[in-house]
Symmetry: C2
Subunit: 422 residues, 2 copies
């Protein structure tokens, strides 16, 4: 039935609204208006919604009042109520505007995940109920960020998980587009909250977006971009506060013209961990990183310095939300490994340039290093891929670093008008 | 497996904690201590929990900011998050004390209800998961007040629904006792917040409790008492703020001695509705009451006065939470019935005496009316059953009424010592 209807040239769009877009009941009513407007233009609309503004933080505060080590299953049980509140309220607001609507939790929408609580991965989507509700010609409001294990336990998908919910549903139902609504107008050459001069990009490739997301552009969750790329879901990042066109995320060959450097990203959510004086035996590093991986802690940048004969220093970065768990793991490991010292440094930032054209343009990294050197900013670690170069530095210098790199590659508003990009 | 274990003389208790017992994280930790203590004494403990203190009101406020007519399905979706928050936090607190624990939502615990949202009735309980979790020798914390329809929609059981959840689970699992924890020490001869002189009853019959509950004693939900009576579940009403013995609710033949009047209840949550000048045709009254019943609006007291030949006055009372819905229904009905006037009066209270021995003691009602007459309190409506007499009156007079009736039947602390009850 659904497929029959779709063949009749009717659109299906998935829209995702983040926490700032539904910050209070006034904003929820605005989002309801947008959805109703779109429903009356298109045919089928699914809205994926995050928790209201600071609800999640309030729930975390309650949890902290009880314990600093909550069982992760119970943490998910607690936190997932945030989205349930916002979908119910949004459904009420849509109903108030006279459109048929139903809200669904992650469980009801059939988002089956693994049991890795607080950062679960979607295994499959049983979309039968969702399709049934869509076929009733109503707006379906879906709780983002959450799913359910095959054992019927509530899970959450980790930071920014609502993006993944939206893209996964768009993929499952072969939606025409997945629109991610946020409080900025799209993807910029740098964080516009950090740099006035930043320019909105009308389009960007999946790969660039993936790097931007991973690198702390904070607009899209990396996993959602991977999903979109894999299933070729058209993505758009837009503001829920206006009707501007936003940034469209596409295959690189669909972009109007490749740029060497598309933007500068800054991530201050990393922590640098230095293991000082690690015994120089085979398998030590793999032991450390395997143990972290078993606890689903992603390690980002890694440096190993052989410098004192029998001992090495290993330095790496992780996401700061994994820090307390990493400390427990490393202290435990240290009982058998006899590492001389473990140093944690949260006052670091990773500043990166991203660009699909970088791979064919030698000298881009050197130009970035030059900009940093000219500004007397010390680089602590470097990592590169085909489309990005990242430098770890003192967090206090990161804003200046973004500015000098942005200027160096002429990414700003004024340069754009007269200059070529590189 | 569960039954095998039970045969080995191990106890199963169900405890229900209301909103004031889990008013904040400090209180939640206290409840966790009680549960852990009990778990270490008994063998299997199920805790049924209400929403934290004023959470439900906060959620209702959010709903009111959106609309004054929320779809009931979405209202349940919203409100049910309150219990989900409290069970997760209580499970965290129990885990922190070193006991194994799991929290379950109404859906996870298999409480299947009809689809009468906001006041759903339990149809059946699929206790397979609950039994599986109990068999793991852990405390199971269950979200009260909520269930799920066969179509996987979240429902709530209406005011005080957590009591029903607790008793229904106790019945399903043949628990040894169901303990209802609240912020008073048990059932009193009158509301101790209204009358200093009220005395705690060590025991009371199901039928008396049922009348007390229905009449506004506010301690137990009537449906939960019916359930307990039907399945012969031992009930106890206790305070979560101390370890006193509370009030035990039993079969009347198990009571130590039958009293004529056990207590005086006062319900200020009723609204009196007068239909003035109703055409005197057969079927009009049944039309009115059937239509209200179809919307699950319970009508309590009813008087019909034939007084002007062709028209009647019909006066009845309903719960004040049904008032806005009743107004809509009656206005609609009035289009065809041509009632002269409809008068709503919320400033009424129903004061009642309850006692299992009343049926065999004539003159009890007369004694109550005398007490009210002596205090110059006008009785607007009267209803009686085998074990209760209720009088509707001006709400402003209700506290005085409770006092004079309580005195008349010598129910107070001082009288108890020297006098006999009637």
């Amino acid at each position: 039935m659904l497929l029959n209807r779709r063949q009749d040239d009717m659109g299906l769009i998935v829209q995702k609204y983040g926490g700032t877009s539904v910050a209070d009941t006034t904003r929820i009513k605005k989002v309801a208006e947008r959805l109703v407007k779109r429903k009356r233009e298109e045919d089928q609309v699914i809205a994926v919604v995050s928790a209201i503004g600071d609800t999640t933080d309030e729930l975390i505060n309650l949890s902290n009042e009880i314990t600093d080590q909550p069982p992760k299953r119970e943490y998910d049980m607690l936190i997932s109520t945030g989205e349930q509140v916002s979908v119910a309220l949004l459904a009420m607001a849509i109903n108030e505007l006279g459109e048929d609507v139903i809200s669904l939790t992650g469980s009801q929408v059939g988002i089956i995940t693994d049991d890795l609580h607080t950062k679960a991965k979607i295994l499959e989507i049983d979309s039968s109920r969702l399709e049934k509700e869509l076929a009733k010609d109503q707006i379906v409001v879906v709780a983002g960020f959450q799913g359910i294990t095959i054992n019927d336990d509530i899970t959450t998908l980790g930071r920014g998980g609502s993006d993944t919910t939206a893209v996964a549903l768009a993929a499952k139902l072969d939606a025409d587009i997945c629109e991610i609504y946020t409080d900025v107008n799209g993807i910029y050459t740098a964080d516009p909250r950090m740099l006035d001069d930043a320019v909105k990009l009308p389009e960007i490739s999946y790969d660039e977006m993936l790097e931007m997301a991973s690198l702390g552009a904070k607009v899209l969750q990396p996993r959602s971009v991977e999903f979109a790329k894999q299933y070729k879901i058209k993505l758009a990042v837009k503001s829920s506060f206006n009707y501007e066109s936003g940034t469209h995320v596409k295959e690189v060959e669909e972009l109007e013209k490749g740029k060497v450097v598309s933007g500068v990203a800054c991530n201050t959510n990393e922590v640098k961990i230095s293991l000082i004086g690690v015994p120089d035996r085979p398998g030590i590093a793999s032991k450390v990183f395997n143990t972290l991986a078993e606890s689903s802690i992603n390690v980002d940048m890694i440096i190993q310095n052989v410098h004192r004969g029998e001992v090495n220093d290993i330095t790496f970065t992780i996401d700061d939300e994994d820090l307390s768990q990493a400390k427990v793991i490393l202290n435990e490991l240290n009982k058998e490994l006899t590492i001389e010292d473990i140093i944690y440094d949260a006052e670091v930032a990773k500043v990166s340039i991203v660009g699909a054209g970088m791979v064919t343009n030698p000298g881009v990294a050197a130009k970035m290093f030059e900009a940093l050197a000219d500004a007397d900013i010390n680089i602590e670690m470097i990592s590169t891929s085909e489309i990005k170069v990242s430098c770890l530095m003192d967090e206090a210098k990161s804003q200046q670093a973004v500015k000098v790199i942005h200027d160096k590659f002429n990414l700003g508003e004024k340069q754009r008008v007269s200059d070529q990009n590189v």
